[in-house]
């Protein structure tokens, strides 16, 4: 059997989210963030049974990427961002990249000037970030990479994921395991490398 070639991806085209606040969403992305409206689709009877008619509209997030929304007409809102401190309201987020400290500062100043509540700047391992939310409650982040990722990062990440699966899925009594168990296993794996 011939080897199946590895296809490539070339970055994000768009990500899409439902909105029940079409006006606020347009005003936030177009006017407050200042993102260009790229495209809008309108459809009747194309959605599935319970949401046949909708609009689908796209804002320019830079570098060929867009953030898009579906507005389903006549559908009861289902705000899955309710309980904004829950992990569902935090983990599923969009982080946009800026390239300089000056750009991060400009975004902070713009968001503050437009009355958007933003976080303090958070220094993570390889990015520093500002956090805020859109009118739907979706978490957004603007990130400045503080260094590029290299082979050692990929090597270490592969070990970490291996340790995660061995600890929390494939190992003995995975439901009893803690992150300390995973770090201890990672230590054993690293020791074998040295």
């Amino acid at each position: 059997m011939s080897e199946i070639p590895q296809p490539e991806l070339h970055g994000v085209h768009h990500t899409a989210f439902p909105t029940w606040k079409p006006k606020e969403t347009v005003e936030f992305y177009r006017d407050i963030l200042g993102l260009k409206v790229l495209h809008a689709i309108t459809a009747k009877g194309w959605g599935r049974d319970e949401h046949p008619d909708f609009l689908h509209f796209f804002f320019d997030a830079g570098n060929g990427a867009a953030i898009a929304f579906f507005y389903y007409i006549g559908i009861e809102p289902m705000n899955d961002q309710a309980g904004p401190r829950g992990y569902l309201g935090m983990a599923r987020h969009t982080s946009w990249r800026v390239e300089t400290d000056a750009e991060l500062v400009q975004w902070r100043e713009r968001l503050v000037a437009k009355g958007v509540a933003i976080s303090e700047e958070v220094q993570h391992e390889v990015i520093k970030s500002l956090y805020f939310r859109d009118p739907n409650g979706y978490p957004l982040e603007i990130s400045l990479p503080t260094r590029s990722l290299g082979k050692v990062d990929a090597m270490d990440a592969a070990l970490t994921l291996d340790a995660m699966i061995k600890t929390f899925v494939d190992g003995d009594s995975p439901e009893t395991k803690t992150i300390e168990d995973m770090w201890r296993l990672k230590g054993e794996m690293v020791r074998e490398l040295l």
Binding site: V122, Q123, E125, V126, D156, K186, G187, R191, L193
Partner: protein, 79 residues
């Protein structure tokens, strides 16, 4: 014996710098990792490293040997 393995990258270098200054800790180089070792307790103070909390709480990603006595916002102690 308490051991902390630290990937040799910028964001974790304060852990290594702190440990090189601490007389009770030894640091050795092993390719992509630094091995921080203590014969008794391995204690690192976050404030003394200058690390921000978001990175500090990821300080164990390289793995360890021993038992974690404390891993708080202020202190990491492995015994």
């Amino acid at each position: 014996m308490a051991i902390l393995y630290v990937l040799d990258v910028l964001e974790f270098s304060p852990l290594v710098d702190f440990s090189e200054r601490a007389y009770e800790l030894s640091v050795t180089n092993h390719g992509a990792y630094r091995k921080i070792e203590a014969t008794d307790k391995l204690t690192i103070s976050r404030v003394d490293t200058g690390m921000d909390p978001a990175i500090w709480f990821g300080a164990l990603v390289g793995g360890f040997e021993g038992n974690i006595e404390e891993f708080s916002e202020h202190t990491l102690t492995i015994i």
